[in-house]
Structure formats: structure tokens, C-alpha cells
Symmetry: C2
Subunit: 236 residues, 2 copies
DNA sequence: CACGCTAATTGACAATTGTCAATTAGCGTT
DNA sequence: AACGCTAATTGACAATTGTCAATTAGCGTG
């Protein structure tokens, strides 16, 4: 087996009633009873880095909930390039376009080892109809998608490459629970696809940030950063 | 009175049951009876170019439906600049974040004289609960917002300024019913805010397009364009 | 440890885009 | 037609970013 196994691992049927992220996710407010009776067809999966959950254009039968990890939504461009249009983390819903009957609009790829729940469309639709709570939560998730997309336009696609990189780093920091916590940085290639710049430019900027002491690295892992200086760069 | 009056004009109570764009909008599928009984508090408005429907951060009490015209959603950036994150036309819903209780996330400004219906939140919420049709339509509108935002990322924020401009022009063309129809181009400043480039660069590119015969202009009005050449530039 | 692979970095140069200032064009009013 | 205002265009130059190629670093395997 290759070192980077890209196969899904089935972690059993979902046990939503004891899920610690349930309240942040789709089924907040449902009783344990309701959940356990409805949710048999929900699978809990572990997906390693680089695993593709689904590809752009595929028929969509499931929506995914992220319990842990980081997922990127990628679009292939007509000229052969690609652009990452969203980063999704714990509590986020992946593949919502399935709910309106569309095929998947992006490719969903794991950026950090993920713990997911795969929910068949039928389950979500039924809950949407029967539970006002879920119905409201669903609308909030849709709005969150819009907000995230707007953030990619205003923060990651506007201004100089340097500013955008600073904003990306701050965005990645926010996802962390502990300040100064270690977390894996995206590859330079992914940074490029996130910011709409080339891999080389991304690399140059990161190297420059390191030289200026804006970020400190330990192996491929990110150790800490000068948030004030980053913030200053961010809105320049 | 100034030549460009920026005041709203009240055009009467909405008469949804005879609205010619109803089927594209929120209330598709509702009977004329249902409509007329529920829709008393809906106002029909005419808003001239440059009129601001609402400002970023304002408390949100209404959702707007576009019957005609063009609306831009603008975000103010921390460094003083601004970025347009969406263009909305006939059939689109403006201000959906109101439905989840948020203040407006953008400023909504008229780009081409608009005919609008202003719907109080309560009406939309009630219809969402009582009519499965409206409920489904609403989800589609949310998904459409996400799709539009994604398009702004992949088409208007990726690649060279020239490619982006070509894609913007093709996007504006698609909104037209008749091919080669005249339509008003955005100002160079708005083009810059749409593409994340400066006004000067936008102007240079448009001037170059004219010289190369990619577009022909008549006064401030746009007459036609070489769609094949534009398409070639678009995916370069 | 050497090897092989891929990702990251760097150099050199070209192309694009931003900046600042000046000029021109368009349009409505006087 | 002359005037005044704003938007658009253009020039000159600097700064940023892309392109292509070479080098270095990191990491797992034999």
C-alpha cells in the first residue's frame, strides 16, 4: 500500500445521537429518538488527504457533513487550469446543490484528513419537510455558502497577491481553536489556486513572509505568525 | 429636478396575479387567488440608475424581486476600495440574507433603471412554510446565488484582466434577449470593481477591444461584438 | 546512506498591471 | 456656441506578476 492511501475508510453507521458536532451541523435540535430512527442509512467515513469525495458534473445522491478535517471545492477551467472556490471545515455541508437536483458543481477534495457523514438526499429532504428546525438550519447553511463565496471574492481575489496571501493565512488561523496552534499549510499549488495566482508567486510570497518573520515554520507545519503585521498587510 | 433623479417612485401595490415575470420569480405555481389574498403589503417600485435599495449593514425587513433592470451588490473594503460581488437581473431575488435574520451583507445599487417588488419578510416566511412550491423555489434561488458567486470567482477573478473583461462582456450579452441588441455598458469604474482591476486598466482594455473590432459602440451604448473572438480571449 | 521522486525555491527576464498626472470626450446648462 | 462638470482615455513610468528553466529541499524506499 502506498504511503498516501487515498481510499475511503468506512467507520461504521453514523451515531448522530452521540455526535459531538451534531449541534453545529445539520441536525441541531432533533431529539436523539428522531435521529436514531431516521438515520440508519447515514454512513460515517474517514477520508485521507487527496481523496476525492466527488467530481464536478457527477450525478449527486448524497450530501456530506464534515465532523473534522478540511475540504476544498475545486472548479476546472476551460483553459486547463483550476480554481478553488471554497474551503469547508467542521460543521459545514458539502454538495448542497444536490438538494435542488443538480449534479455536483465542483470537485470536492480532502485537504486535511477528514471525518465525514454521508447523508442520502432523501433523508435531508424528508427532514427538511418534517422538521422546522432542520428547515431553518438548511437555509442558514445555504446562506453560509453564499457568504463564504463572497469572502473568496472580496478577500482572496481582490488586491495584491501579498494582501490576498495575508488574508488567506488569517482565514486559516481563524479555523483553529487554539491560537498559535500548529496546522498544516496548503501546498503552494493550492495556495495559487485559492488566490488566483501562480504557484511560483505563492512560493515567493511565502518565502518572503518567512524572511520577514511574519510566519514561522516547522517542517511542513505552520507554527505561528505575527497577526498584527499580517492584518496590516491584509488591508493595504 | 436633477436630470438623474435618484428617488424611488411608487408604482402601486403589486398585482402579482397578472405579473408577466411571476413565473420566473418567487411565486411561480401559486394560484391567482392565493396571491391576491396574501400579497397586499407588497409594493411595486421603480428605481432609477444609481439609486441605493439598501446599504451594507442595515437592518433587513424586505426582500426584493427584480421585474426589470439590473442591480449590483457592492461590498466596501477595509482599505477604502469596493468590489462588486454580484449582478442581478429580472427574476432574481435581492437581499435573501434577510430571511435568516441577518442585516444586509451588501449595498444594493441600481445599474439600469429597475422595476422591483418589495416583499416584507413575513410574507416570504409564511409562503415558505405553507407552500411547498415556494419552499422549493426559495432553495433554488439560494443555490442560484451560490452559483453566481462562484461564477464571479472563476470567470471574473481568474486569469488576465483581458480574459476577465471578455468573460464579463459575454456574461452581459447573455442577459439580452435579442442577439446584437443594444445595451448599456457599465461604467469603467464599475467594470474595475467587477473584475478586481483599476478603472484605468478597464478603460485601456475596452479601448483596445474597440480598436481590434471586438466591440462596436454607439455613444455610451453597446452595439455588438465579435462573440467568437471574445470567446477565444475568454479562455486563454 | 544513496537513490528517486515530487514539492518548493530561486534566478532571469518578459509581460501585465498599477500609479499618478495630463488630456480629451461627452453632455447638459447657460 | 461657450462653459462647467464628470467620465473616459492616454502617456510615462514603476511595481507586480507571469513564464520558463534551473536548483535545492524534503521524504520515503531500497
Amino acid at each position: 500500500m502506498k504511503p498516501n492511501c487515498t481510499n475511503l475508510e468506512w467507520a461504521g453507521r453514523a451515531r448522530c445521537s452521540v455526535c459531538d458536532v451534531r449541534n453545529f451541523v445539520l441536525f441541531a435540535g432533533l431529539s436523539a429518538n428522531t435521529l436514531d430512527s431516521l438515520l440508519l442509512p447515514i454512513d460515517n467515513l474517514r477520508a485521507p488527504e487527496h481523496h476525492t469525495l466527488y467530481g464536478q458534473g457527477e450525478a449527486a445522491m448524497h450530501v456530506y457533513t464534515i465532523r473534522a478535517g478540511l475540504i476544498k471545492l475545486k472548479v476546472d477551467l476551460p483553459n486547463g487550469g483550476q480554481r478553488i472556490v471554497r474551503l469547508l471545515g467542521p460543521g459545514d455541508l458539502v454538495g448542497m446543490e444536490a438538494l435542488v437536483g443538480d449534479p455536483y458543481h465542483h470537485s470536492a477534495i480532502v485537504m486535511q484528513d477528514a471525518d465525514l457523514c454521508r447523508i442520502p438526499l432523501g433523508v435531508v429532504r424528508k427532514l427538511d419537510q418534517t422538521s422546522p428546525e432542520v428547515h431553518r438550519t438548511l437555509q442558514q447553511r445555504w446562506q453560509r455558502s453564499v457568504d463564504q463565496a463572497d469572502l473568496f471574492i472580496t478577500s482572496l481575489s481582490t488586491g495584491s497577491a501579498e494582501s490576498r496571501m495575508a488574508r488567506l493565512l488569517m482565514m486559516l488561523l481563524k479555523g483553529q481553536t487554539t491560537m498559535h496552534a500548529e496546522f498544516v499549510l496548503p501546498s503552494r499549488e493550492d495556495m495559487g489556486a485559492l488566490l488566483g495566482i501562480t504557484t511560483e508567486t505563492a512560493s515567493r510570497i511565502m518565502a518572503e513572509f518567512k524572511r520577514r518573520g511574519l510566519v514561522q515554520m516547522d517542517r511542513s507545519v505552520y507554527m505561528g505568525c505575527d497577526q498584527d503585521k499580517l492584518a496590516a498587510l491584509a488591508d493595504s
